[in-house]
Symmetry: C2
Subunit: 186 residues, 2 copies
DNA sequence: GTCTATAATAGGATAGAC
DNA sequence: GTCTATCCTATTATAGAC
């Protein structure tokens, strides 16, 4: 029995990256095999259900990845302003200054989007919840905090769409700068 | 020589609708044939380059469609506030209250996005320009008008992503309401 | 768990009649 | 301009050896 080439977590990470770049519909098994360094048979060993099971696994992991890569700083030490600053830094790095697309958006755009509805809702929900918690801690009412948190995620996603569509990272960077400055209540 | 089943403009409209729903990668020739009511051979008669030429035709038409469907009210009669209101109404109808995705976003997400870069840039640019012109007319400086116009398009696109991803139209409607209220300078 | 080989199908695209 | 029939490739998925 040959040893596993990659731990499952690394396979998931590479699948995520592939779906993010190519979209679900645009990612072929051949590209997935190349991206993971695994043969098709190995992929079907891990994911008997094929591509759609890979997507499910990626999405099951997504809320957690988002948490680790972006939202963790919000719960760290420091004032709300400093924690917000670290989340913005993390966003800038995660989306490579607006050059990388959002996996959530790509999956929501796929033809199998109905299948992905639940995990997508969860992921967006956790993101919004984490920001709203910070805003409440900074003194906002629950309702106002939630609305402003939703608005911040909307602006990030919209900026990623426009940055991707126009080929310019300027709009994404401007939105991040604006959030850094004005997201917290004064 | 059989008569054309549909005028070219109607074919383009149905192609647009298909790409908007399925995305470029997710739209198969079989689905396109069904959606247009044309056989494959007829489609290749109109678009010898196949699917990618169909997409090019859709995108060439896109800036104009956007203009007709959404931006026309901005140049109509009335005060800036009334014209803005009519554009918001048009947006609400065009995106069916947030239930319909944005074709620009879908095309920007396709694997052939590099091919579509130019027309996408043009379409986003015209949209932003039209809103910026209204804001200048309402008294804003060119730079401030442009920045605020970009922000408005970002918020609409972001709201469409989240409405699609969460299955709720609430966020889209809230963004439209906010724009209706606060887009113009006071 | 991974491999090579291959099945089975769906994909985009074309031929030629009308 | 449209049709039916077909081609060819790429696709998803499986079989079976190691």
């Amino acid at each position: 029995m040959p040893a596993a080439l990659l731990p499952r977590s690394e396979i998931i990470a590479r699948l995520s990256e592939t779906f993010r770049r190519q979209g679900y519909d645009g990612a072929s098994m051949a590209e997935i095999a190349k991206a993971t360094g695994l043969g098709k048979s190995s992929l079907y060993h891990y994911f008997p259900g094929g591509k759609s099971e890979m997507a499910a696994a990626v999405l099951a992991d997504l809320a957690e990845s988002l948490d680790t890569a972006i939202l963790a700083p919000l719960r760290g030490p420091g004032t709300p302003a400093r924690r917000l600053g670290r989340m913005i830094d993390a966003l800038d790095a995660f989306y490579d200054g607006g050059r990388k697309a959002c996996l959530l958006e790509r999956m929501a755009a796929s033809v199998e989007r109905a299948t992905f509805a639940r995990p997508l809702q969860t992921a967006f929900g956790r993101w919004i919840d984490a920001v709203a918690a910070l805003l409440r801690e900074a003194g906002m009412s629950p309702a106002a905090a939630r609305a402003r948190a939703e608005e911040s995620v909307i602006r990030i996603e919209g900026a990623l769409v426009l940055s991707g569509g126009t080929g310019s990272t300027e709009l994404f960077e401007r939105v991040l700068a604006s959030l850094r400055r004005d997201l917290l209540p004064r």
